[in-house]
Each structure stands twice: as structure tokens, then as C-alpha cells.
Amino acid sequence: MMAITLDSLRTDKRSALIATAAIGILLAVAPFVVGSALGNSWLRILDFALLYIMLALGLNIVVGFAGLLDMGYIAFYAVGAYLYALLASPHFGLHVPVWIIIPAGAVLAGVAGALLGAPTLRLRGDYLAIVTLGFGEIVRIFMNNLNAPVNITNGPQGISSIDPINMGGITLAKPLTVMGVTIPSLHAYYYLFLALTLLIVFVSIRLEDSRIGRAWVAIREDEIAAKACGINTRNIKLLAFTMGASFGGVAGGLFAGFQGFVSPESFNLMESVMVLCMVVLGGMGHIPGVILGGVMLTVLPEFFRHSAGPIQQALFGKILLDPEALRMLLFGLALVVVMLYRPAGLWPSTIRRREFRNGSASDVLKEGE
């Protein structure tokens, strides 16, 4: 339903404008509605959801657009977060302003992306997956161990007391007062994250419709044919890694400023897998789908956290199953069920859905070859 209306929006300019305005208002008031109706913990979850949307959109470029399976994506998030932590904390006594760090994080993560991309250009599918997974682990292990002989990352202890995000002398850590209106810290972070998410969405949409975006899709669909058509597959693939990584770097920097503490355990393999799940579950290569995936996978476990106990209480009058185990069981089940009923993702692009439907009928079982 949603997808259909969205498609009709593309053609009708006026309703598009109305829809944009409606979404804009919705996003603008969301923190206040959520904060007062559900409590600040949900607002914090919303903030994390925005961070994960940025990550998912970045990974979507690599996996969704260019079709390169990257299982170590969280490494770029870590690069961004650690750069922020090192440049704005008492650890080195540096306090570089945020508008330098975040772009620097994007650049550095982009370079890391290219470094990862370069040796893996020849690899495909599952081999690429395991190498990128290894890369992610390598980055994490270095961060965990670079406290000796020279203390760079402070090892497993992590870096604490990181400066909160601070722009033009206004810190987001304390309630802001703008024109007599107080905006609590969590709300301020929300707007900052939202602004950057929108920027990333914008960049993603423009990339998708560009020559580069079409080249990515061409590589995803058939690399040899793409090459034959004159696409410089090497550069285009590297560009996918670089662009995707830079989004992760931005999100990482924001995470460090938001949390005030980074340690290597935040960047483990499971996080990479979760971001990948967001992309695939939402609908690979389809920006609204990926955003939906990011929201779903951040909100769902929290929803189960809040409901696993009370629902049992209501149904059976007592807690039968350990709510925490039940929460994870339901989460696992949700992943399986969604994929079984919507194998192309919750909200796949219409083109892909059509392809999938046609393709599947003719060549049974060809997939997996």
C-alpha cells in the first residue's frame, strides 16, 4: 500500500509536496510526542535508530547498490567513533571542534573503505564476505590492543569522558535554550542526527540516480557485462566501498559524542551482522526499505524488552518464560518469519520485486548456484 502511494507521488507534484510537508512535521514533532507519551528511553532508542539508519544507508551502497557483501561494516563506524574519541577527550587532551572531526571521520573511514576494497576487488560473494568480516575483526582487535607499547586507543578500557557534541559554543549535552524554549539534550541530539540522516538520504538518492549509481547496479547485476559496457569496475567498486564507509564514519563520530564513551566491545561482529540484517530485511537497494529496516531492528528488540514480561503476565497471570530469553527468541523468530514471508525484504523496490517474481517462476532453484 505504502509503496503504491509512494509511486504515485513521483508523478503527482502537489501531493508530493503535501506528503513531504506531512513527513517533515511528523519528524519534527516526533521527539516531543515520543518523549512525553512513551518516555525518554524511547527517545534515546529513536536517536539510536537514526544512527543505525545512517549505518544501514551506508552499507546499502555497498551491499544494496553494488552487490558487494560486506560483513565488517561496523569497522568504519568504529573508525569514526574512535577518531572523535581521540580528538575530543581528555585522553590526549585534545578538544578539536566537532565540525572538523565529523568530516575528518568521514574521510578517514572512506580511506579505510578504499583500503579494504583494494585487495578484495577480485573476490566475490562468500569469499568477499569472509574477508570483510576478517577486516572488521582486525580493526576491532587493533583497537582493543593498541594501548601498548604506545597507548593510542586505551585498549579494552575504552575512552571515557568524551566531549559532548558542541557546535559554536552550544553543547548538546545540556538542555538548550533557544528563544526562551528549552530543548532537552536528547531532543537536540535527535534533531542533529535527523539532519545528518536526511543529508545522507539525500546523497543516497542522488547517487542512486546518477551515472555512478547506475554503474553500481550494472556491476551488481552482471559484472562482466558491466565491464564490457565500458564501466571501470575497479574504480566504481572502490567508490562504493569509500562512499559507504564514509557514512559509517559520520555515524560513528556522532555515536562517540552522544555516548561519551567508546570501547571496542561496541564494534563487534554482531553489530556488523545487525546492520546487514537491517539492509536485507528492509529491502536491499531500496532507500525507504533500508530506513524501515533500520527502524525495525532498533525498535523491535526494545519493544520486546518492554512487552515480554507484561504480556506473559497478562496472558498467563505469571511469568512463565524468562522475559529476557523470550525477548531474544521473539527477535530471532521475527527475523525468520519476515524473511520467509517477504524474501526480498519488507519494502523492496518495485523493479526488484517484479524481477524477483518473474525470475523465480521460470528458473526454479537456480538461485544459490
Binding site: M284, A325, G332, M339, P343
Partner: protein, 305 residues
């Protein structure tokens, strides 16, 4: 010198364990081209079931409990493997390639938390299944169980290779792997073959689970994750889909880790130490894959999208 030999033996034992688990990955991958990410959890289920059978039968002689434990573990694992394939993979055979990856992750989470509910959150001590006798080889020690593990890993690889190359079932498996629709036309019931593959892979997992837990005398509901990851790395290193490759990759990985942890610290003057143990494995993996993109003895797959 005895230290060096000891390190090689350490690596060999560790590698055989990786190989045992890696065989299961590679078996499924070889037939279906699918990474069964839940395999590590099946290994864990095998270890847990075996542990509880052994505990329940405490007091009986080992030659009674051990086969029973193994049978129970294999039975449960085969049922679990069969179910996973039916529920989480078969409906997605025509789906985009990443869809089964997500269901596999979902299944892993489910299995882990089910195991936590059933067997509790504690670490369990695994009772010794063989008398602890140490053997000396050139000043290095190895336990009987470790010798058994190395032998079993080798036997399993050989047995599976025979199965795939020499039997009717094996021929059907190869046909399914080559081209499912054509295999079907030739009268192969590919659904049955794929189920059989999963069942065999899961039985292997049960053996691996028992061996791993017995060797380290520990079982825990979370043990499958790291083990699965390492074994998967080993399978890819050797060339995923190739049974001998899984064995080679496993042993190579074990030896690299062992020698890396043992010597890199002294070689680099303390700059790199055993905390980079896991990194050596990945560096070697990346190095190998750069020069041989389909693993050490993996078949060269024709380049296609």
C-alpha cells in the same frame, strides 16, 4: 625444539577441531552454495545433549555412556538440522541470496536462547570421557583424547569424500550441486538430497560438539558462535565446498594461530603479541584469497554474476 614440536601439536589439535566443524559448513556449501550460519549452534546443541546424557548416566562404564551420548546428540542434531533446512532454508531457495543468511542468523539467535532456557546460563564442566593419559612425543605431550580427535577428523574427511565420490547418494549430491533442475530431470529427488546433506552435516556437528567439549571439558550455550566463525574461516581458507580443503584449512588455521601466539611476540620484540592471535589468521586468509580467490584447493568457479 620440544617447545616447537609442542606448538605444532597444539596447532594440530586445534586445527582438527576447526576441521571437524568446518566439514559441516563445507558439506552444505558444496551441495547448496549456502553458508549455514547456524551450524555453530548445532555443534553447541550436540555438546549440550551429549553432556546431559553423560551426566544422566553417570556411574555406568564409559563404553556404554559414550555411544549413547553420541547417539542421542547425533539424533537431536539431525532433527534440528533437518528442521532448520525445512523451515528456514527450503522456502527461500528461490529467494535473493542474502535472505537465507538472515534466517540463519535468526535461527542462531533462537537456538542460543532456547539452549539458555533449557540448560541454564552457567558454564558446564564436561566430564572426562577417556582416561586422561598423556603421551610424549619428542618431549611434547598429547592426550589420548587429542589423538582421537585428530584421527576422527581425518576419518570423517575420508569417509565423507568416499560418500560423495563413490556412493549413489554422493552421485546424487554432486548432480544436485552441479545443476539442480537437470538433476531433477534425471530422477534425483533434490529435496531429499538436500535434507540428507543437512542431516549428515548435523550428525558431524554432534560429533564435533562432543569432541570439542570433551577436549576443553566445558560446555556452554554460547560456545557455538566463536567456534562456528573460526571453522567457517577455515573452510574458506581451504576452499569452501571442498572436503579436503576444509581439513587443510582447519589444520593450517590451527597451526598458524598456535605458532603465531607462540612466537610472534619474541620475533617482533614484544611489539605484537598473542593478543593479535586472531589477526594472524585473518591476515593469512586475506593473503591467500588475494592470490587464490577461491581458497587454497577450491575449484576455480567460472566467473559469473
Amino acid at each position: 625444539m620440544d617447545i616447537f614440536i609442542q606448538q605444532i601439536i597444539n596447532g594440530l589439535v586445534l586445527g582438527s577441531i576447526y576441521a571437524l566443524v568446518a566439514l559441516g559448513y563445507t558439506m552444505v556449501y558444496g551441495i547448496m552454495g549456502l553458508i549455514n550460519f547456524a551450524h555453530g549452534e548445532v555443534v553447541m546443541i550436540g555438546a549440550m545433549v551429549a553432556l546431559f546424557v553423560i551426566k544422566a548416566l553417570a556411574g555406568l562404564p564409559v563404553f556404554v555412556t559414550l555411544p549413547l551420548a553420541l547417539a542421542a546428540a547425533a539424533g537431536v542434531c539431525m532433527a534440528v538440522g533437518f528442521t532448520i533446512e525445512r523451515v528456514a532454508y527450503r522456502p527461500l531457495r528461490r529467494a535473493p541470496k542474502l535472505a537465507p543468511l538472515i534466517t540463519a542468523i535468526g535461527v542462531s539467535i533462537i537456538l542460543q536462547n532456547l539452549a539458555m532456557l533449557i540448560w541454564g546460563r552457567n558454564y558446564h564442566a564436561f566430564p572426562p570421557i577417556l582416561p586422561t593419559s598423556d603421551h610424549e612425543i619428542f618431549g611434547a605431550t598429547i592426550t589420548s583424547l587429542q589423538i582421537v580427535i585428530i584421527v576422527i577428523a581425518a576419518l570423517m574427511m575420508a569417509g565423507l569424500t568416499l560418500l560423495v565420490q563413490r556412493t549413489r547418494l554422493g552421485r546424487a549430491m554432486r548432480a544436485t550441486s552441479e545443476n539442480p533442475p537437470i538433476a531433477q530431470l534425471m530422477g534425483v529427488n533434490i529435496n531429499q538430497i538436500i535434507s540428507a546433506t543437512f542431516v549428515i552435516g548435523s550428525a558431524l556437528a554432534a560429533v564435533a560438539g562432543l569432541m570439542v567439549s570433551a577436549n576443553y571439558s566445558i560446555a556452554h550455550y554460547y560456545m557455538g558462535f566463536m567456534l562456528g566463525l573460526k571453522a567457517f574461516t577455515a573452510a574458506v581458507l581451504g576452499g569452501i565446498g571442498n572436503l579436503a580443503g576444509a581439513m587443510l584449512g582447519g589444520i593450517l588455521l590451527g597451526i598458524i594461530e598456535s605458532l603465531g601466539a607462540g612466537y610472534i611476540g619474541d620475533l617482533t620484540g614484544g611489539f605484537l603479541g598473542s593478543h593479535y592471535q586472531d589477526i594472524f589468521a585473518f591476515f593469512v586468509l586475506i593473503g591467500v584469497l588475494i592470490f587464490r580467490p577461491s581458497g587454497l584447493i577450491g575449484e576455480r568457479i567460472a566467473e559469473r554474476a
